[in-house]
Symmetry: D2
């Protein structure tokens, strides 16, 4: 399934500022970038970097004045549909060792401190994709989605106490629980089809049976329409813009739409991943 994604960012730059942007679709196995353009005004030389996980960073150093960024791409998602009941958890003894870093606690996902809860609540459930779905259901049922209820410092522990948050908080809690249980989990920012209102969206991925599978405990987006941008340990690794200098954002627009006729899919009963 092909999607057209776009982002427009505008800033008023007051002093010379270094921008680290992460708005381009990630290079992932089953996420193929068919075409893309990244335009900056003013036009400046760019530094580029791609992480081992496929996240693409761009750095631009901008002099005072107006700064505009436009990104447009056509991305094909060759999602791997699997019967979720067949997707088992991989024992730690068999996990690829490069995946094991996603078992560690991180800034916003204190899986070490939440381990007892995770075992009490989810430890006896049948392992596999269904257990992670149960985790997502728990989050959906026990945390209020409430704009403005959290901020950039809010972590999974805070959300556990305060029971309100936005998509990144939902993802952080899901990641923390999964890691507590020995399931590698990572954060993904994304262009999210059917998200209303359109915005960057945070979801998470778990490593199950040899591949990463997507989960969205907010239930706000369609799993088969998530074009991932930044993939990392948590939101600290996936900001769409990090600003070193003095600049104010004056505008942002994000969009995603299917390019062709929409396939008649039934995503909720299928596991969606990037096997």
């Amino acid at each position: 399934m092909k999607f057209s994604v776009a982002a427009r960012l505008a800033y008023e730059v007051r002093d010379r500022t270094a921008f680290i942007l992460n708005i381009e679709a990630a290079e992932l196995r089953n996420q193929k970038i068919l075409s893309e353009t990244l335009t900056m005004s003013p036009s400046v030389p760019l530094d580029r970097f791609e992480t081992a996980g496929g996240t693409r960073l761009v750095r631009a150093v901008i002099e005072p004045g107006r700064f505009e960024v436009a990104y447009d791409a056509i991305v094909e998602l060759a999602m791997h549909d699997a019967d979720p009941t067949t997707l088992r958890e991989t024992p730690v003894a068999e996990l690829p060792l490069d995946v094991m870093t996603f078992l560690n606690p991180s800034r916003y996902c204190q899986s070490d401190q939440l381990a007892r809860f995770a075992y009490r609540e989810f430890g006896d459930l049948p392992p596999g994709h269904q257990r992670v779905t149960a985790i997502c259901n728990w989050i959906y049922e026990h945390v209020d989605y409430l704009s403005g209820s959290s901020n950039s410092e809010t972590s999974a522990n805070d959300t556990m106490v305060q029971r309100a948050g936005v998509c990144r908080d939902f993802a952080h809690l899901g990641i923390a629980f999964c890691r507590s249980l020995g399931i590698p989990a990572r954060f993904a920012s994304s262009y999210a089809w059917q998200l209303e209102p359109p915005d960057f969206h945070a979801v998470f991925e778990c490593y199950l049976d040899g591949a990463w599978y997507l989960f969205d405990p907010t239930r706000m987006a369609a799993l088969q329409g998530l074009v991932r941008i930044g993939v990392g340990h948590d939101a600290a690794d996936a900001a769409f813009a990090t600003i070193y200098g003095n600049a104010e954002m004056t505008g942002m627009q994000v969009s995603i739409a299917p390019v062709d006729a929409v396939e008649n899919s039934e995503p909720t009963i299928r596991a969606v991943g990037i096997a």
Copy 2:
């Protein structure tokens, strides 16, 4: 019902030390102290203070050497048995104003931060004694009682995340939830009949229908055999000994036993309070 209670404390005092002791039975409406003796060795002049809530503090200033404290009392508990299904919550508009301080958050009971959870989990339950019982059941079922899993800095927020604690942590969580819901709640240290092994025990009390009623989310002691000692906002108000100086505890013994034949009571289906 009458109980004989006793405490023995021993310290090695290295420098001149002020002890604030809170081991005497509190002066409460339905807790009558029939006889008592407090002996200190060496014998020193004591300063005494009783809080508005009936907690009795003793201060002794001790020179270096061995320091021993012995307390023995016969206490009659004229517990008020009520049918729990009839005990309603008092609307804030009708609460005695001196009780309202027990709606405020305190050091170990962040009822402000736990409010959303409390409303989500307990907000729709029928108000009254039964709702507090539901809170105690929730704590019993969702937190592990585990010696050594917490310390003197552990608060209700920590217990909410880590899901393990001892009696004081169970009490703090219960107090926090009740205050979140508008139910005045206070902490009580106690001599606890049937507690094994014998020790000081922490429980909590809620103000319901004009009286304070006892709750023990650990289910470790018999509610009708709790001789309360220190009553306050939380454990910060009810330490059995606070030491200003340099002294080490070398021994502690606590005991409680019924004086007469035990009445054939059925506490679990009755609300126990001090109306």
Copy 3:
């Protein structure tokens, strides 16, 4: 010195709401209320309560509609001026026992966790009023006063990490440090002469040499012009309005002015208290 103080509050009440108001000047030894009026519109019966510390609470239950409160008073402050260099700390062995509750940690003042820092930074200073002044100077120099940088959940620990706050955060940090060092300290809300812009103001008091002395680490108000309202362990005990129901504040005005010609005082070199 006499002051005229006034407060005006306005609310839009949506459902029947119980208001607990704490805007009247406290009954304190050297704070004499010469005259006062409290008017509510609509006029309703009031419940009144005065804490052991002199804080005066009023409860009003208001039906839906507009609710307005007006308080006006003339208050005489017979401040006790003392030479700060003579004001010693009272050893715990000699403290009045009713004052000892202000050594305990509270919701916003984790004096237990901050003790090592307090001893490291202030432990070797000469004890007494001058040490508390040193604490206030430290806070003034190490924390930014920044509106909007904190909220109702912010505690002394948070301020220690984040180094920004408003008057209540400055007071909480001062209280925590003092308690850590064995100096009883309490929170006071107040009408504050010379505060710009006019607002309720938070300061703190320490018990030194037999009396409570005022401190304002923000340096924003004149110590001899503080008409105290709510006195308690911390901000949890001194909200000017606590609302149980559904109401929105639509207006607030606070003012204070000296009634007579201003005396030519030199507050900065004198300790100000209510001996």
Copy 4:
């Protein structure tokens, strides 16, 4: 300079357990492993992984019984000595993009929340190696090194409040401050020459002027005798053993000694790095 390092670990394995071990010297530019042996008893097949940063992980799955690990290596440190006064900070606009991940906050290093403090305390110091040294001096002077004062959950925020910790806490605080100031910083576990008693030791590295330089705010080890093992964002990335299963450690020995005559170096006035 050449060092002989050794580690001996012993476990009692109760159920089949997967061990992830990180005790081998890292593969770093100026840390050359001349020879090494890793022996396990029982001997089992090993899985190996080396991170992008040079950290080497080994996985062994062990059946119940006694499990012993022995590691011995000769490592040559070709340290880059530089005049610290010449080592500047690299502007973000010029940092290698793969280094930028070490500007992000992590589990134990909340550089986002500590930023205001870092700027207030260190923001006006001359940037470069000397500023990081000033940070280390501040930590050394303001935090007590105290065994048992922290645990595996302790983070930089906690240490900021409680002012006590061990080597990993000192390193976490240094890392957090550096990241707050825009200086990439990473955690390193190590064999540490002259550390008494011998143990694994935690230090940190900053990226300055094109290379990583070592810092030890505990001042317990000699910088030119640090054989690094695990390099990562913080201690979450560098545990010497992570155990998935049921096993108890029954013994551990760590040692490091220079192979040749010790050079007469003056490390304290030179920056030591791995340029």
